[in-house]
C-alpha cells in the first residue's frame, strides 16, 4: 500500500510541474523575435500578443515584448512587461538590467514605505520556494505523514525515528500547504499595475470633478487597492492613495 501511495505522489508531482509548451505560442514567439531583430517593432508586438493570447507565456516572451515597447518609446508598457517577465524569471540578469534602465527614465521618484515584517517574510519565502513548489512539497510531506500514520495503524510500524519522521512531515506539510494557500488567497506581491498614460491625476474620489491629489507619470508601478466602474483606487510607493481612471493602468 505504501509503495502504491509513493508512486501516486510522484505521478501527481510530475503532472503538476510539467512545463507544457504550446506549438503555436513557440512559433509566434519566433516570428516576433525575428521581427524585433529586424526593427519591425509593431510586427513583433502583434506576434508576441498573439502568443500570449494563445494561453501560454514565458519570461522570454514578456521580455521581448517589453523590449519592443521600449523601442517604440512606450515606457509604461515596457516596464509592465519587464515586471511580468521578472515574475516568471526572478533571477535573470538581463531582465534585472533592462528593468533598471527603464526605471531610470521614469520621472516619479517617490520614497518607498517600508513593508510590514510579515509581508517581507512572505515575499522572501515566495522567492525561495515559489508557490506551486511549496504546495507540491507540502503535499508530499502531508502524504508522507499520512502514509507513516497508516503504516503505524495498519502494520503497527512504530518507533522513535518513525515518530519523529511523522512529526516532521506533518509540520512541514501543514506549513508549506498553509503558506501556498495563504499566498494564493493573499498574494505576496499584491495586484500591481503600471501607469501607461504620460500623466495621470490621483483624485480623492472616483470622479473627474474630485479634488486632485497629485500627478503621477508613465511607468510608475502602483498597487491597486480597489476598483469601481472605470476607476481604480491605487496606492503609490510613498503610501498616497487616490483614484485614477482604470484605462490609464496596465496590470502586471
Amino acid at each position: 500500500m505504501m509503495r502504491n501511495l509513493f508512486i501516486a505522489m510522484l505521478l501527481l508531482g510530475a503532472t503538476y510541474s510539467a512545463r507544457a509548451q504550446d506549438v503555436d505560442a513557440v512559433r509566434l514567439f519566433d516570428e516576433g523575435t525575428a521581427a524585433l531583430m529586424d526593427g519591425q517593432f509593431q510586427d513583433a508586438l502583434r506576434s508576441f500578443t498573439a502568443a500570449e493570447q494563445s494561453g501560454w507565456a514565458s519570461g522570454a516572451l514578456f521580455y521581448n515584448t517589453g523590449l519592443a515597447y521600449y523601442r517604440l518609446d512606450e515606457l509604461g508598457q515596457a516596464i509592465r512587461y519587464l515586471e511580468k517577465a521578472r515574475l516568471l524569471n526572478p533571477e535573470d540578469p538581463r531582465i534585472e538590467h533592462s528593468l533598471a534602465v527603464a526605471e531610470r527614465r521614469q520621472r516619479d521618484q517617490f520614497s518607498v514605505l517600508p513593508k510590514p515584517f510579515w509581508k517581507k517574510a512572505q515575499q522572501g519565502l515566495v522567492r525561495i520556494i515559489p508557490l506551486q513548489w511549496a504546495f507540491l512539497i507540502g503535499l508530499m510531506c502531508w502524504m508522507a505523514f499520512v502514509a507513516g500514520w497508516t503504516a503505524k495503524t495498519v502494520r503497527a510500524l512504530d518507533g522513535e525515528w518513525y515518530r519523529r519522521g511523522r512529526q516532521a512531515a506533518l509540520i512541514a506539510g501543514l506549513f508549506l500547504i498553509s503558506h501556498a494557500m495563504a499566498s494564493s488567497i493573499v498574494p505576496a506581491f499584491p495586484d500591481r499595475s503600471v501607469v501607461l498614460e504620460e500623466t495621470l491625476v490621483l483624485r480623492e474620489q472616483a470622479s473627474d470633478e474630485a479634488t486632485a491629489i497629485l500627478e503621477v507619470h508613465e511607468g510608475l508601478i502602483v498597487e491597486v487597492r480597489a476598483e469601481a466602474t472605470n476607476w481604480a483606487l491605487v496606492k503609490i510607493p510613498n503610501g498616497t492613495r487616490g483614484w485614477v481612471p482604470s484605462a490609464g493602468l496596465g496590470d502586471i
Binding site: R71, L88, P93, I177
Partner: protein, 628 residues
C-alpha cells in the same frame, strides 16, 4: 579752483589693476567732449567763519565764446567778494577727441555761523538757458572747521611767482566726503536666480592724487553666483555734482550676482588700500614736485555692504522648468535627419538671452529608446561688456540609433521664469523626424558593463524561450483538485481508522463477528447449492439450501443450529418476535428440503429451483426481521 589738464586714468581690470588705475589719477580731472552741460559747485561745503568759499559755474562743451556772462548767484548768509567772475578754460584731447570747458568763479565770505545758501543761477549759452542747483554751505567757528586743506583763493597762485618763498602748509588729509566708494545695486529685491548688477564707483574730489592702490580683501558674495562684468580698461572720469561738491567718478568694478537661495543675502564691501594726497593750497608745481613723497597719506576705502532681499520663485513652475531665470529664446538645430544605424547625429539646443546662463541646466531631451543619448557637450558664451550679463548657452546632444526605422524626436521644451513679468514662460521646438536605415552589426554596444550589459540600454533580446506556463491558470486556492489532494489523505485516514476498528471488533467481539458473517455465509451456501443443482446432485442441492437457511439463523441468533429441533427453532423465532407467516414460510421450506433430500426424484426442475428462490427471499426477510 581750476580745471587741470586731463590725466587719464589707467586700469586693466577691476581687481588687481586698481592700483595701476588709481595711481594714474595724479591730479586727474578731465572732461569729455559732449553736449553742453552746465553745473555749479563749491570748493567746500563746510567752512570756518574766517574762510571763503568759491562757487564755480562750469560750462562743459563750450569755449566761452557763446556764453553770456552770468550774474553771480544770490546768497543767504554769504557776501559776494567780487562781482566780476574769474574765468577759466580748459581743453583736453582724449583718444583724439577734443573737449572744452569754460568756467566762472566767485568768492563768498560768510556773515556768521550757520547754514548759508547759494541760490540757483541761470546761464545762457547760445540761445538756450541752463539752470544750476542751489548749494548749501555750513559755516562753523574757525577753530572747529574740518582739518583739511585751507581754503584758498584758487586763482591766487596764477599771479604769484613760483620762486617766491611760501609758508609751510600742513599736509591735508582727505575725509569721507573727499574720497569714497559707492556700491550701486541695480535692485534691492530680486527673485531667486535673478540677475542683480552691483556697480562700485569711486568718487574723488578734483585734484586728489592716489597711488599704490590695491584691494585689501577678496571680495565675496556668499549665497550668490557671481559673474564679473567688464569695466573700461582706461576709464574716463565723469564729473558729478554731489551735495554741491564736484567729484570725478570712475567705475571700479561691476558684477552680476544671482541669489542662489531665498532670504536677505549680503555682498561684502569692496575694500581698497591706497595713498592719497589732496591738492595743495597753492598751485605751486615745484612744491608739489618736491613734497609729494611726504604729503601722501595712507587711506583705506570701503564700499558699504549691499544687501539683496531674495524671494523664492512662485509656485506653478512648468514640468520642464530647470531653474532658468531671465529673458531667453531657444533654438534647436539638428545636424542631420537621415543616417544609418550606428552613425551619430547632433542636436544643438541654444538658449540665448539675459540671466543665469552659467547655472542653467540642460533642457530635457526625451528621445525614442532606440537611440543612445550621451550627456550634452555644453558651451557657454557670455557677453560681459554690457550693463548686464548676456550670452548664450549651447547644449550639443549626440544621438546614436541602435535600430533602423522612422523615428521622431519629440519637441524640446524649455521653460524659464521671467522676473520682469513675474511669470513662467515656455518655448517649444518642433518635432524632428529622423530616418534611420541599415541594420546593426552587433547586438552589443561597444559601451557595455562588466557583465556584458549595454550601458543605459536594454539587454539583448531572448532568441529562444523555454519554460512556458499557461496564462489562464487560476489561483491555487480556487482549484478543486488542490483541496481534494489536501483532504483525500484525511478521508483515507478516516477509512483506515474505520477499517481498523472493524478489524479490532471482529477479534474482540465474536458474537458481533458471527452476526457480520451470517449473510455472506448464506450466500456462499446458496451459491454452492446452485452449483450442485446444475451438476444434477439434487440431494446435495437441498442439503445446501437447508444449511444456508439454518446457518444464517444460527449465526444471527448466535446458537448452534445443528442440535435444534423444528419446534425449538420455531419457538426461538417466536420469542424473537418473528411473525407466524414467516415461521410458516420457514417450516414449509425446511419440509421441502427434507423431501428433496429423501425423495429427490419426485421433484421437477421447476420445483427444485423454487426452493432456491424461496431461500433467497426468506433469508433477507429473516435478516430484516432479526435486525429490527
Amino acid at each position: 579752483m581750476k580745471e587741470l589738464a586731463g590725466r587719464t586714468l589707467g586700469t586693466r581690470s577691476v581687481s588687481g589693476a586698481i592700483a595701476l588705475l588709481l595711481f594714474a589719477l595724479v591730479g586727474a580731472s578731465s572732461v569729455v567732449a559732449r553736449q553742453v552741460d552746465v553745473h555749479a559747485s563749491v570748493d567746500a561745503t563746510t567752512i570756518g567763519t574766517e574762510e571763503s568759499v568759491t562757487l564755480t559755474i562750469t560750462i562743459d562743451g563750450s569755449d566761452g565764446s557763446d556764453v553770456q556772462v552770468p550774474q553771480p548767484p544770490d546768497a543767504v548768509g554769504l557776501i559776494l567778494l567780487q562781482t566780476i567772475p574769474r574765468t577759466q578754460q580748459s581743453v583736453s584731447i582724449i583718444n583724439g577727441e577734443m573737449s572744452r570747458s569754460f568756467g566762472y568763479s566767485w568768492a563768498y565770505r560768510p556773515t556768521g555761523q550757520g547754514t548759508a545758501r547759494i541760490e540757483a543761477s541761470t546761464v545762457r549759452v547760445k540761445d538756450r538757458e541752463y539752470h544750476t542747483q542751489p548749494i548749501q554751505v555750513q559755516v562753523v567757528p574757525q577753530d572747529q572747521r574740518p582739518a583739511r586743506a585751507r581754503r584758498t583763493d584758487p586763482f591766487a597762485g596764477a599771479f604769484r611767482s613760483p620762486f617766491t618763498p611760501q609758508p609751510t602748509e600742513p599736509a591735508p588729509e582727505p575725509d569721507e566726503s573727499d574720497l569714497f566708494i559707492r556700491a550701486v545695486p541695480s535692485q534691492r529685491s530680486a527673485w531667486q536666480n535673478e540677475q542683480v548688477v552691483i556697480e562700485y564707483r569711486l568718487f574723488f574730489r578734483e585734484g586728489i592724487q592716489l597711488r599704490q592702490s590695491r584691494l585689501t580683501d577678496s571680495w565675496d558674495a556668499e549665497g550668490f553666483w557671481r559673474e564679473e562684468l567688464e569695466v573700461e580698461t582706461r576709464p574716463v572720469p565723469r564729473i558729478i555734482i554731489e551735495n554741491g561738491l564736484r567729484y570725478n567718478t570712475i567705475v571700479l568694478k561691476r558684477a552680476a550676482v544671482f541669489p542662489t537661495r531665498a532670504g536677505d543675502l549680503s555682498v561684502d564691501p569692496l575694500k581698497i588700500e591706497s595713498e592719497a594726497m589732496l591738492p595743495f593750497g597753492s598751485r605751486d608745481p615745484f612744491r608739489s614736485l618736491f613734497a609729494m613723497q611726504t604729503r601722501f597719506t595712507p587711506v583705506m576705502l570701503a564700499s558699504p555692504e549691499v544687501t539683496v532681499a531674495s524671494r523664492p520663485l512662485p509656485d506653478g513652475a512648468p514640468d520642464w522648468f530647470n531653474g532658468a531665470v531671465g529673458s531667453y529664446a531657444m533654438t534647436v538645430k539638428p545636424d542631420r535627419t537621415s543616417l544609418e544605424v550606428g552613425e551619430s547625429m547632433q542636436i544643438s539646443v541654444t538658449v540665448t538671452g539675459r540671466g543665469n546662463l552659467a547655472t542653467m541646466d540642460a533642457p530635457i531631451l526625451d528621445v525614442p529608446a532606440a537611440f543612445d543619448v550621451y550627456d550634452p557637450d555644453v558651451s557657454t558664451l557670455l557677453d560681459r561688456s554690457g550693463a548686464r550679463l548676456t550670452g548664450s548657452k549651447t547644449f550639443r546632444y549626440i544621438l546614436i540609433p541602435r535600430t533602423n526605422g522612422a523615428f521622431e524626436i519629440p519637441p524640446i521644451t524649455f521653460s524659464w521664469f521671467d522676473p520682469g513679468a513675474g511669470v513662467y514662460r515656455t518655448s517649444k521646438s518642433n518635432a524632428i523626424p529622423v530616418s534611420v536605415t541599415g541594420t546593426a552589426t552587433s547586438p552589443l554596444s561597444v559601451t557595455s558593463t562588466t557583465n556584458g550589459m549595454p550601458v543605459d540600454d536594454f539587454a539583448p533580446l531572448f532568441t529562444t524561450s523555454e519554460n512556458w506556463v499557461a496564462t489562464t491558470r487560476a489561483p491555487l486556492h480556487t482549484r478543486w483538485w488542490a483541496w481534494s489532494l489536501i483532504l483525500l489523505p484525511l478521508v483515507g485516514m478516516g477509512v483506515v481508522q474505520v477499517w481498523r476498528r472493524h478489524q479490532t471488533r471482529l477479534v474482540r467481539d465474536p458474537r458481533w463477528a458471527r452476526g457480520r458473517r451470517a449473510h455472506p455465509l448464506s450466500r456462499k451456501h446458496l451459491k454452492q447449492a446452485m452449483e450442485l443443482l446444475q451438476s444434477g446432485n439434487t440431494k446435495g442441492y437441498f442439503e445446501e439450501v437447508e444449511r444456508a437457511v439454518l446457518g444464517f439463523i444460527g449465526n444471527r441468533l448466535d446458537i448452534a443450529e445443528k442440535g435444534l429441533t423444528r419446534p425449538q427453532l420455531d419457538e426461538l423465532l417466536s420469542k424473537r418476535g418473528a411473525s407466524e407467516s414467516l415461521r410458516l414460510r420457514l417450516k414449509s421450506l425446511l419440509d421441502l428440503c427434507d423431501r428433496g433430500r429423501f425423495a429427490p426424484a419426485s421433484f421437477s426442475p421447476e420445483n427444485k429451483e423454487s426452493a432456491f428462490d424461496d431461500a433467497s427471499e426468506l433469508i433477507p426477510d429473516l435478516d430484516e426481521y432479526l435486525d429490527s
